[in-house]
Every structure is written in C-alpha cells, then in structure tokens.
Symmetry: C2
Subunit: 335 residues, 2 copies
Amino acid sequence: MATTIDDVARAAGVSTSTVSYVLSGKRPISAPTRQRVERAIRELGYRPHAGARALASSRTNVLALMAPLRVDVNVSVIMQFVTGVVTAARTFDHDVLLLTADEIAGMERVANGSMVDALVMMDIEADDPRVPVLAGLSQPAVLIGLPRDPEGLSCVDLDFEAAGHLAARHLARLGHRQIALLGSPQAVLDRHTSYAERMIRGFTRGTSDAGVTGVVEPCESSMAGAVDAVDRVLAALPDVTGLVVHNEVALPWVLATLRERGRHVPDDVSVVAVCPPDVAVGQALPLTNVDIPAHAIGRVAVEMAMARVERSEPAETRLLAPMLVERASTVAPVR
Amino acid sequence: MATTIDDVARAAGVSTSTVSYVLSGKRPISAPTRQRVERAIRELGYRPHAGARALASSRTNVLALMAPLRVDVNVSVIMQFVTGVVTAARTFDHDVLLLTADEIAGMERVANGSMVDALVMMDIEADDPRVPVLAGLSQPAVLIGLPRDPEGLSCVDLDFEAAGHLAARHLARLGHRQIALLGSPQAVLDRHTSYAERMIRGFTRGTSDAGVTGVVEPCESSMAGAVDAVDRVLAALPDVTGLVVHNEVALPWVLATLRERGRHVPDDVSVVAVCPPDVAVGQALPLTNVDIPAHAIGRVAVEMAMARVERSEPAETRLLAPMLVERASTVAPVR
DNA sequence: GGGAAGCGTCGAAGCGCTTCGCCAGCGTAG
DNA sequence: CTACGCTGGCGAAGCGCTTCGACGCTTCCC
C-alpha cells in the first residue's frame, strides 16, 4: 500500500523520473522500458500519492461542484446535474468535491487551498453573490445558469427562453388560443433565478408571436400551491385549453387538480411539461414534454471547465437547444 | 494568492515551524507571537496548500462519500443523507469527495491514492461487493446500512426492524386487525438491501405479536406499480383497514389509488408512511409517519468515521431508534 | 566525415508543509 | 553560585512527486 514511485523505479531498474514520464506520457519512453515500468506498477499495485502529485504539479485532478440543495428546487433534476458532472469528470480523470452549504466560504477554501482545478456552480441567480468572488480565484469556473451579466464567464444552460417559446408555439400550432404557463415558485422568481425569468420571456414571446392569449402564474412546489395556481389560471382564463407546467414537484398535483376541476387531459386541456422524460412518462398519462437535459448540461459544464484548465480556452456561454417530445397529453382542441 | 507559510513566517518575524504550530496548536506558542502570526495570516490572506499538507501530515481532511444514485432508490432521502454527511463533515473541518458510479474502482482509487481520510458508503446490500474491498484499504469506512455480517465494521442505520414493528403495533393498538405493508420495489429486495428485509421482519413480528393479520407486498416506484400493489393488497386482504407504506416515491400514487378504489383515508383505511416528515405532511392529508432521519444518520456516520480517524476508536454498529409521529391518517377503525 | 539534431534516460532541485530534535534563556532549588 | 528543568522558538529533514537541464548515443544531411 505504501509503495512509492521509487519502489516502482527500483523494481523496474529505472530512475524515478522515467517512471513519472511513463505515467504522464510527457516524454517519449521506449517500449521495452515502458513495459518494464508498467509491469512493476501492476505488480506492486502502485498508486501515485494525490497530495504529492498536486504539490509538485499544481494540478489536483479534482473539481468542485457547488450544488445548492435548497428545499424549493427539484431534487431529482439536481441529482441528474450532479451525476452528469461526476461521470463527465471521471472521463477527464477527475474526482468531484461536493460543496453545499456555506458556499462563498467553501469556494474560497477549496480554491485558495489548491484543492481543486476548477469549480462548477449550479443554480445561478441574476445577481449571484458567488460570481464576484470568482474574480479573486486562480481557478476557472463554469456556471450552470446565467447571471445578469455573463460577460467573460463560462456559462451553460438549457435555452429556457427557446424552451418557453417552443412550448407555447407547440400549443398554438395545435390550435389552442388560450394558454397558460404554470411556472416556478415565487421564491425562485424573487431570487431572480434566471431560468425562470427566461422561461417566462420565451413563453410570452411565443404567445404574442402566435397571436394567442397567454397568462403566467407562479406555482409553489406543494399540493396547496398547485391547487391554488391551477385555480388562479382557471379564474384568469376560464376557457384555457393549453397548459405549460414548469415545476416538476407540482406537476402531479396540477394534473390531479385539473381532474378534480373537471378538466380532462388532453380532451379539455393539453399539457406540456418542462421536465426530464422520466418524470413526463411517469405520470398517469404520458406527457408531452420539453426536456431538461440535466445530465447533458452537467457534462458540458465539465467539458468547458476542462477546456479552460487544460488548454486555457477562453470563457464562453453555451445554451443548449430545447427539444419537445410529443406524447399523449397534447392534442388539437375539440371545437 | 500564492502566499506560502514562509511568507507568513517572514511577515511575522518567526520561523515557519512556529507558524505551523500556531495553525495546528500542537505545541504551545506564547500569546504575543501567536497574535503576530495570526495577524500576518489574516493580512496576507494565507491558506495552507492542501496537497502539501496532505503530503507532510498524511491527513487530507477529505472524506469520500459513496452514494449509489440508482434509479429505484428515493432521491430526496438520498439527498438528505448527502447533506447530513456534508454538513457534519464540515464541523470536523473536512470536505466531501463524491463517488457515484464505478464504486469499487473509485474507492480503491481515492483510498490508495491517499485522497481521503475515511469512506462513508451508502445503500449497503447484504452481500455488498464493496465490503470485502474495505479490508485492503488503510482508511476506515462507515457503512450506512447493514451487510449480512457487520462484525468488525462501522455501521449506522435506522433500526428498520424496530420501525416495522412500531408501525404495525401502532395500527394494531388502534384496533386494526388486518394490516398490510407496501414495501420496497422487488429490485431492492432482490439486491437484499438490508433495510427492506429488516422492515419486513419487524412488521411481521409486529403483526404476530399483536395477533393481527398482516400481509407484505413489494411495490414498484411508479404509478403503475403503486396501483398494482394496492390492488394486490386489496385482493389478498379485502377487509384491510391499515396500511404501512415504505416507499416515498409510490406514496402519492398509493393514496390516489386508494381513493379511486373507494377507500377513504383515514375513515376506511389508516395509513402509516415510513418517510421523512416533509414528505408525510406534503400529501393531501398529513400522514402519520415513522421518520427516516436521513440527516441524522449522515451526521452519525461522519462522527463515527472521525472517531476512528482521530482517536482510532474501534468499529461499532449503531441503530437509531425509530420515532412515530401521529397525524391525521391513522384512526381507530369504524366498526 | 563531421556537425547538427533527435532520442531515451537520468539526476537533482524543488513544490509547501509537518514534525522531531535541539537550544537559548529563564526561574528555581540545592 | 551552579545545576536543572521548563518554556518558547528555531532549523532541517523529509513527505512523494514532477520537471528541467544535461548527457550519451544514434541518425541524418550536406
């Protein structure tokens, strides 16, 4: 267990630097030598000491992931981001350090303590307090979400504006003239979490482009909140026939409330859910949905981070195009 | 940013070792000197380099957390474990490295690479392939869950057997004579995940102790699975008046199915949920529940890990006593 | 045939920190 | 007045790895 690079070198009859170069590939090593070294490594079960490596190379092969884990965010989507980041990190031979609470202090600790090569931050708000801190760090960071001014920052997210537009257009093209968006909880909007605002913007633009009536209602992530939001929509738009739901937690309750209010899906009202596919197909009726490709976003975030670490590539913002999958919950309105 | 301990020493007019001792407290330093050093640290914004520290002290101040993130496990409970572990780790000045996929290779990598001081492993199965690997590692590990033979291992979990017993007893004492347990998905049982089996054992013992009829049905974590499981229970026990549900994902669908089958909760059937309180109160009706104190279990796991790291304490198994909170979903059966 | 250019390998100098042994200076006791 | 023990601080030796310059050798080209 306590084998060092020197043990390997001795066993292979070479110098320590040769072993190091076999490991890193940074200088050419002849095939026979390389094989001897590799054999010694295998036989001794050697693993380089991460700390020593970090000290000498100033690379840790660790990524920090700052996940909010707030109560009103959807846990399963968060989880998908996390797994996306972790699996992608592994393909770059990196591990993931998880930061949840105490984020500002945490990022300074792991960055200034040289524990990580880069940071990935989730759940970015318009004026996120973490963003200004980044300037003082020597490691690159990638934001999942968009701050108010993304200039000079690496950002990645679903193009929620396009998603809102797409959902609205889909309903309008089916012939719906009165449609509504059930969105994020008020608390999320109050934080100016950008995806919620972009979603609303896209939806609104979609309705006006199509010349249909659209209303937007926030929706708490609880049963009571869902009931309330549905009732508000029905009050504002009694003849509503299309609904876009951008709140996975509330989704089942929204559907239940519609049923209770005597609105059948899809005969009376078509529903587009903005959520991962497993949530969409797991409901009573398979729902037409606009995917939130959390796993892919996580992967892209890591790729961007590694590009900056390994090749000093400049920061850029990437918005992933939304995709709508039609299922049983959206049909043309019955006249 | 690139300030080192030598910079601090120079600024404070002391030697590097003195700075180190101020930081670690391992030797007494006179008050005036200490204050000079602390001031220099503050003014320079100094942070020790984690890698260098790990190399010299062979302590990394990092904990590995192996979270499964399988599809059929409940994500929100997992999340609570994770946050429990992360916050507890911080109180011991440790960070958390998250391992999800590829677990065996991952544990060997982080352990043999000296990346972590200890491992915390979730979702332990009876014959978990990770357990034998532990013997070859030089770091201690704590298991959340119980393997078949916990001898010599650090384990912590809710006492699910007591939980099953408690839930059954609660219903029996209210006067219910025919009760059922809707448990984990078949896949979880097939893995011999111990909590599921212990739950069933406790429930069964509870029913026979109380002299009431009990049946156990596994329950998939999907709407179809919930409907199916409820129907199986109603078929097996047409006069069932008490239900224990140990599957948070299926819980809402179970309640919906009961309603659809014309069984009113709690008038026709009392329901005890085994889940965190927020899930229990978030349903249509606030449910009587046996808590799964995921956060507390995570904290205890970290405490046990640190006890072994810092004070070489021996391994032990700790089962947390279950607690039942009575809410609106359980009443005496109407005669 | 001779100099330049590669190639494969080695040696040694750190990277920033901890820790052990040591020593100077002091107070106290014999 | 010397001897001794304490206290507070210092110096230096690593911890295990990477990386740079150097070296001896072969190959190539004019």
